[in-house]
């Protein structure tokens, strides 16, 4: 019988060899404009909305060879957002674009076309420019409207423009463009002057892609930026994403994911908090007492800087002892915040110990002899000979580091060794952990901009990585543009960003307004509604245990978390979920059916604007539950099933809990997996989580249910619950489920 079932499932879809739905956007950037991908506007501003639409990015430098057309099978669209109007080979690029568009790949241009001339300033013929934009249904004469006070925005589609701010004040100058095709829609158009030619289309979307005139996508003034266009809607239409289910990294078991992580900075700082300071208590200990012990229902990942604990560097017996106590707590996960805490990762990409010595160490008034000896083998000349650095680029690098950090890493005691930073720190911290616990995540330090080899080093020791992004969305940063993408793909390597900024950006880099972190709540609210863009993340440093105001702010945030409907997970859990976003593939099996492959730890698939759709539980496989939230349908997959099939059906009445022939999870605080349907009236599953196990199930048959489980001590418990009039079975369990437990639901009686 088992054999037969497997055969049937193979026959009904798994044997299908259809191609995955393309999810990649090829993002062109100019490495001369933005040497660092992290600084490109596409990464900073566009990638998060694209991620939300289920899309991931592959960056391509316009200075490199153009990708082979055959390598674009996973590419859904091309996005350019050039700051200048030059590129090395515009004509080649235009020709290439034609091939790409002919493949059915969408083409989206934000801002400058980038093709007006080559690097020798040779103008691209207007006819070719028109050919390029003609593919999007546009044409131009390349005239710019510079003075704009007399410009009227004659057409504005509120669905797509004036999203975060109106077009007010002095309008940006713009190049004149017209629609040349009826297949495109204008969402913003301008007119001026007295003749018909004095018009321009500024935001358009057509069958092959879209265009936004320079200056009309967003407002930017120094560090302040806001969208004019609605990037979610614009990219949704321009890249035609409605057919794409969205791998969702914000939700688990139908609830918003919660995770929290601490960078170990400030471990050795003596707290100023009145309650503790008399005893010379370390800020780490304050966190231990106030947070770890105070909030056992909330997991937290603690990532020490190994140098703070290693007695060969700056560790002491006390700090090691404290670390052991902290890691012994069941809600505390272990991470590493490196060994020597690099500030500027780029500095170490092509590291020369000698340069570090000459640029930073030798200038110190007092140099420990031990340090001298450690560097000596790397020095080509005598250590006493002060040689000014001649390498120009290194000089510039030093200058830029000094502007922000003074030195390239916190501890210069040993020459930098990438292996030690990653593997070494993990191994050292592992020694401090109770049996069964291991370091699971590397939390990037400093500028959180690791180079690919550093990320690869973390992968080699089988841990995830996180940090960077610095997401903010509050009155000080009132825009989605400060909400970071899920992560950054650097070739084969993947850096996962933290979902919210730590307290540094709220406290002027820990130089004032120490209460500032309490404003995290605003970002958490803004990234929850009207779109759930990010998990609930509380990310901070141990030095938050140093000040009364900072500790109070942190505790307020934790209290706030307790009041929310969340599914708490560890940071490494989240990082793996985020990794799953990049690997997930959707193979279409029908108009509303997809096979989901390679999703890793990602267990939620979202369908936007789907109030009238529901999961067809009979036709789906590996699906555990569904929940509507903010007009979207969040589908929970069973982590025990590597591959899943989601089949949707219509829910014409928009019922909040659509009926199904099997019980399904609506939402719960714990991670549920391995769901087994034993009989119509009985299901068994495993659960793991933090805090009390609140759960809501929709069951096909109303009645009284027994919920049975065995706690960690081996004692059996039975909780009774009854369905409400909607067939909703809600209950509340109080066992400790940080380690997985098995739970069964059995219908025992009908309710009269």
């Amino acid at each position: 019988m088992t054999v037969l079932i497997i055969w049937i499932s193979l026959g009904t879809g798994f044997a299908d060899q259809k191609q995955p739905i393309p999810r990649t956007i090829l993002a062109f950037y100019d490495s001369q404009e933005s040497p660092n991908i992290r600084m490109t506007r596409i990464h900073r501003m566009a990638e998060m909305p694209l991620n939300h639409l289920g899309l991931k990015l592959r960056f391509a430098d316009i200075r490199d060879e153009l990708p082979a057309i055959d390598d674009l099978s996973d590419v859904r669209g091309v996005l350019t957002w050039f700051e200048s109007d030059r590129m090395p080979a515009p004509i080649k690029f235009i020709k290439w674009s034609e091939q790409v568009i002919n493949q059915g790949i969408q083409w989206v241009i934000l801002g400058n076309l980038g093709i007006a001339r080559d690097m020798q300033r040779k103008d691209t013929p207007l006819s070719l420019i028109n050919h390029y934009i003609g593919q999007l249904g546009l044409q131009t004469q390349e005239n710019w409207k510079q003075v704009t006070y007399d410009v009227q925005l004659i057409h504005k589609d509120p669905r797509l423009v004036e999203f975060e701010r109106p077009y007010s004040g002095t309008l940006p100058s713009f190049p004149q463009m017209w629609r040349a095709s009826g297949h495109i829609s204008t969402y913003l158009a301008a007119a001026w002057g007295k003749n018909q030619q004095s018009q321009s289309d500024l935001v358009v979307i057509g069958s092959h892609g879209g265009y936004v005139a320079p200056g009309y996508s967003h407002y930017e003034n120094g560090d302040f930026q806001q969208w004019y266009i609605n990037p979610f809607e614009f990219f949704r239409l321009a890249f035609k994403t409605d057919d794409l289910p969205k791998p969702d990294t914000t939700t688990l078991s139908g609830r918003r994911i919660y995770y929290s992580h601490i960078d170990g900075d400030g471990w050795r700082n003596i707290t100023e908090i009145e309650k503790y300071k008399k005893n010379g208590t370390l800020s780490a200990e304050v966190i231990f007492k106030e947070v770890f012990n105070g909030f056992p229902d909330l997991p937290v990942t603690l990532a020490p800087i190994a140098a703070d604990l290693d007695p060969e560097w700056y560790g002491t017996k006390n700090s090691i002892s404290l670390a052991r106590q902290m890691f012994a707590l069941p809600n505390v996960e272990a991470g590493s915040h490196t060994y020597s805490h690099p500030f500027s990762w780029k500095y170490f990409q092509n590291y020369q110990a000698e340069n570090e010595w000459r640029e930073f160490i030798q200038h110190r008034k007092k140099i420990d002899e031990k340090i001298v000896k450690r560097y000596e083998p790397f020095l080509s000349r005598s250590k006493t000979e002060l040689v000014p650095t001649s390498d120009k680029s290194s000089k510039n690098e030093r200058k830029s580091i000094q502007e922000v950090y003074e030195i390239p890493r916190a501890y210069l005691d040993y020459p930098f060794d990438l292996n030690k930073e990653i593997k070494g720190s993990v191994e050292f911290i592992n020694q401090l952990l109770p049996p069964g616990k291991k370091v699971t995540v590397l939390q990037w330090s400093g500028d959180t901009s690791p180079f690919p080899a550093a990320i690869e080093a973390a992968g080699k020791v089988h841990i995830s990585n996180i940090n960077g992004g610095d997401s903010r969305f509050d009155p000080e940063f009132p825009s989605h543009t400060w909400v970071a993408p899920i992560g950054l793909q650097l070739g084969e390597q993947l850096q996962i960003y933290a979902s919210a900024s730590n307290e540094n950006t709220y406290t002027d880099l820990w130089e004032g307004r120490y209460y500032g972190f309490k404003n995290l709540i605003l970002t958490l609210q803004n990234t929850e509604s009207p779109r759930r863009l990010k998990p609930f993340n509380i990310y901070y440093h141990l030095y938050s245990g140093e000040k009364e105001a900072s500790l109070n702010a942190l505790l307020e945030n934790l209290q706030f978390a307790r009041q929310q409907e969340i599914t708490p997970v560890t940071t490494s859990d989240y990082a793996k979920i985020a990794e799953g976003f990049y690997s997930t593939q959707f193979i279409p099996l029908g108009s509303q059916t997809w096979r989901i492959e390679n999703r890793g730890a990602l267990q939620t698939i979202r369908f936007d604007e789907a109030a009238h759709l529901a999961v067809d539980m009979d036709k789906s496989q590996g699906v555990m539950g569904q929940r509507y939230y903010q007009k979207n349908l969040y589908v929970s997959l069973d982590a025990a099933k590597k591959t899943a099939v989601i089949a949707l059906t219509n829910n014409p009445s928009g019922a909040p809990f659509p009926s199904a022939s099997k019980p399904y999870l609506v939402q719960g605080r714990w991670q549920i997996s391995n769901l087994q349907f034993l009989r119509d009236d009985r299901i068994v599953f495993t659960a793991q989580g933090f805090g009390n196990g609140d759960m809501v199930w929709k069951v096909p048959r109303p009645g009284q249910y027994d919920i049975q489980f065995t706690d960690e001590a081996g004692i059996k418990h039975t909780v009774k619950a009854s369905t409400d009039e909607n067939g909703i079975l809600a209950f509340h369990l109080q066992p400790l489920a940080i380690n997985k437990i098995m739970i069964s639901l059995t219908r025992v009686n009908e309710i009269l």
Partner: protein, 806 residues
């Protein structure tokens, strides 16, 4: 020390220093603070504050302690309360503003900063405030703040420029001009293209175009800046000031000739304003002087090749390329514009630059070669154009057009993917707001490519909107594609267009007629006939279509026409109406307006109408009405005759009597009245009228005969005989005798006692008309007069004539 919250500004963020400066008075809490016992200190200060002591010595440290613990709203409350009492304390306000900012209460922060800066202006803070307003899109506040900055800290040129922009944005154009003038006064030599364009634009928009021109002239005289000039030209164009633009360009013609773009503008504007000769002369002069750049040589060639279209094309923005191309497509091998002189010039240019200078414009080159009848060279250029890696749609169309002109038998073949081209054209055609010429060219291109089906919807659009040749083209295409139903549908829609030319409508009507769509044809003809002459072919066709018995609507239509027309046309319409069975309507119409019948034509129609009236009473009524008003004996006579014809004898007699009132001796009336009185057995009247009649008409045998009969019937046999005799004489003298005359002759003979002679005539008459009962009856009478009763009876039996009936 003055009671002042200044201390807080010092101690904020640097706890431990502040309290040293606070005046003694709250010793215990201060001691706690000094000892780092902030919880106790806070508790003590809170107690004091709650008890009403809100002096600065309590408020300041308490606010500071709240900030220390992160209780930011409590700190704000204290600061707000303090400022209510001491609003002039700028330091405290600064602190409150900062705390608002840190608490992310940005609106309140801005209010405090505005108040603060009014109290204590500070340039850096003003500029921060300006930036905040700008970032928040509060342009009015931004403007206000920048005005203050300019007022308080004048000197920065960029401030003035930004201010001018902001003022312009707010519609304060004159203020903006003033700001720029102030800037000019402060920095007389400062100039930037943006600023100058703004200034120029503002002058134009404030009605100072002369000033704008002077300013531009001055600027360009001082420093001839070609890019700025280009911006001015574009600006002037967008403001509809092409003349000004041309004036400026001509004013600076010498330097302008050195700059390709400007020279092109100048030539274009000259061409647009009909000064093609000047433009050509300018180019020729430069060419002869060896100063014409390659690209302008192209312009020169283009102008020589297509002067008619040149001016429309160059700066007609969107249509530029297409119009240029279409020109090529429409001229090509049969270029009509290449005059001998132009040919000479073109050949000179080619001689100087070689064909190579055309390499950037292979299509222009191809057209040129066609014009020079160098087909092989033209073909080579076409091939080169075709081989370009990327071709615009317009270029592809043009290439296809050039190939098309080679004719179907030419061996050269277009290698472009025509299907893709068709698709591209179709897509381009869907652009909204496409100008008509562009549409026409694109559709033509599709037709030239033989893409009839694809062209069809666009063709229809053009046919619907432009009609004429486009309608013909559409019809032809539909016919070629065998889509007759669509064709008829098109015609149906088309004839509804009020502005459709008559000729086209007529054609459509005939097409409908041919196809048997009578209703459609009728509609079309109705429109045509609405303005047509009643004798015109459209009306004729319409009447033909309607046939002899048109419907009510048709009659109504004719009636309306008849009602609204005048003169002879009216009579014609009435005539048509009568013909169409609308006599009643005509009569009714004319009865309302009897004077119309004075027109002879209308009168005739009137009579016709009356003739057509079927019911006697109606006719009688009509005639009576008419007679009452009519005074013309001639017309009355015709009414009389008409009534008579329709056997409305009473009416006829009334008419004749009226004639006698007007002309008592009117023979015809007397005769008719006599005859009618006879038939109505009024013998005396008969004799009276006929007697009067015969006095002036002595040769009328019938009157004599009738008069005699009247006498005979009154048994005045003797009196009657002379009249019978007179009638007989006349009849016998008559060389040609009609049947009634013979009959009367026989009757007279019989009355005068010659039944034999009479019988002979009756017998001969009966041979002519064997069925004539009158003849038989009279013959029987004659036989009986002769006593031949048997014969009479035989005649009666044979003819079933009741003798007594005689």
């Amino acid at each position: 020390m003055k009671q002042h919250l200044v201390v807080i500004s010092i101690i904020t963020g640097a706890l431990g220093l502040g309290f040293l400066l606070i005046p003694r008075g709250s010793q215990m809490p201060l001691m706690y603070m000094k000892g780092g016992q902030f919880i106790l200190a806070k508790g003590e200060f809170e107690k004091q504050y709650a008890s009403g002591n809100d002096s600065v010595s309590v408020a300041a440290p308490l606010a500071e302690l709240y900030l220390h613990f992160g209780e930011i709203n409590k700190a704000i409350n204290i600061l707000e309360r303090y400022l209510e009492e001491k609003p002039q304390d700028t330091q405290a306000r600064k602190i409150l503003a900062n705390v608002y900012r840190d608490a992310q209460r940005i609106d309140e922060h801005l209010i405090q900063m505005e108040t603060l800066l009014n109290q204590a202006p500070d340039e850096r803070e003003y500029r921060n405030l300006y930036t905040l307003f700008k970032n928040r899109g509060q342009s009015k506040k931004q403007l206000e703040t920048l005005q203050k900055i300019v007022q308080l800290y004048p000197g920065s040129s960029s401030d003035y420029i930004h201010l001018a922009y902001l003022q312009a944005n707010e519609g304060l154009l004159r203020d903006s001009v003033k700001t720029l003038e102030t800037l000019d006064a402060l920095h007389p030599v400062l100039s930037s293209p943006d600023k100058e364009e703004l200034h120029m634009s503002l002058l134009l928009d404030t009605g100072n175009s002369d000033k704008a021109k002077d300013r531009a002239q001055q600027l360009l005289t001082r420093n001839f800046d070609a890019p700025l000039f280009v911006r001015f030209v574009n600006l002037l164009k967008s403001k509809g000031q092409e003349n000004l633009s041309l004036q400026l360009l001509q004013y600076f013609a010498t330097p302008v000739e050195k700059y390709t773009t400007l020279l092109r503008y100048l030539i274009d504007l000259e061409a647009e304003s009909g000064r093609i000769i000047e433009a050509l002369a300018r180019l020729e002069k430069l060419f002869n002087a060896g100063k014409l750049s390659g690209s302008l040589a192209l312009t020169f060639v283009e102008l020589l090749l297509e002067p008619k279209n040149f001016g429309q094309g160059l700066h007609a923005e969107k249509n530029f390329q297409l119009q240029t191309i279409s020109t090529g497509a429409s001229t090509g091998p049969d270029n009509r514009f290449l005059t001998a002189k132009n040919r000479e010039l073109v050949e000179k240019i080619l001689a100087r630059y070689g064909e190579g200078f055309l390499s950037e414009r292979p299509l222009l080159a191809a057209r040129l070669m066609f014009a020079l009848q160098k087909e092989s060279s033209a073909l080579a250029w076409m091939k080169q154009a075709e081989s370009s890696p990327v071709l615009t749609l317009e270029e592809q169309i043009e290439i296809a057009g050039l190939y098309g002109q080679l004719g179907p038998t030419h061996p050269a073949r277009l290698t472009l993917d025509t299907k893709k081209l068709e698709l591209g054209i179709a897509e381009a055609l869907q652009a909204p707001g496409l100008p008509q010429p562009r549409k026409e060219e694109l559709v033509t291109a599709l037709l030239d490519l033989g893409a009839r089906r694809r062209a069809l919807p666009y063709l229809k659009h053009l046919a619907d909107n432009a009609g004429g040749d486009w309608a013909d083209a559409y019809e032809e295409t539909l016919l070629n594609l065998g889509r007759k139903e669509e064709l008829f549908k098109f015609w149906r829609q088309r004839v509804k267009k009020p502005d459709l030319p008559d000729e086209e409508r007529r054609q459509i009507a005939y097409q409908f007629l041919d196809a048997g769509y009578k209703a459609e044809a009728e509609q079309a003809l109705l429109v045509l006939a609405a303005t047509a002459s009643p004798n015109g072919p459209d009306v004729e066709q319409l009447l033909f279509l309607w046939g002899p018995r048109p419907g009510r609507e048709a009659k109504k239509w004719l009636l309306e026409k008849a009602g609204s027309a005048s003169g002879d046309e009216r009579a014609e319409w009435m005539h048509h109406l009568v013909e169409a069975g609308g006599a009643e309507e005509v009569v009714a119409l004319l009865q309302k307006e009897p004077s119309a019948a004075r027109s002879e034509k209308i009168f005739t129609v009137y009579l016709d109408a009356l003739e057509d009236l079927r019911s006697g009473p109606e006719l009688v009524a009509a005639i009576n009405n008419l007679v009452a008003l009519e005074h013309s004996p001639d017309k009355l006579l015709r009414y009389g005759k008409l009534a008579e014809e329709r056997e409305q004898l009473e009416a006829a007699q009334a008419v004749y009597k009226k004639i006698l009132q007007i002309q008592p001796g009117d023979g015809y009336a007397l005769n008719q009245l006599g005859q009618m009185a006879f038939y109505e057995n009024r013998w005396k009247e008969t004799q009276d009228y006929l007697g009067r009649y015969l006095s002036t008409n002595p040769n009328d045998w019938e009157a004599y005969y009738t008069y005699a009969e009247a006498g005979y019937l009154q048994e005045d046999i003797a009196g009657a005989k002379q009249y019978y005799q007179r009638a007989l004489e006349i009849l016998e003298k008559s060389s040609e005798k009609t049947f009634p005359m013979e009959m009367a002759q026989a009757d007279c003979l019989r009355r005068l006692g010659n039944p034999k002679q009479a019988l002979t005539i009756y017998q001969s008459l009966l041979k002519k008309r064997p069925d004539d009962n009158n003849v038989k009856a009279n013959m029987i009478s004659s036989l009986m007069d002769l006593g031949e009763f048997d014969k009479a009876q035989q005649v009666m039996i044979a003819n079933r004539i009741n003798v007594t009936g005689q």
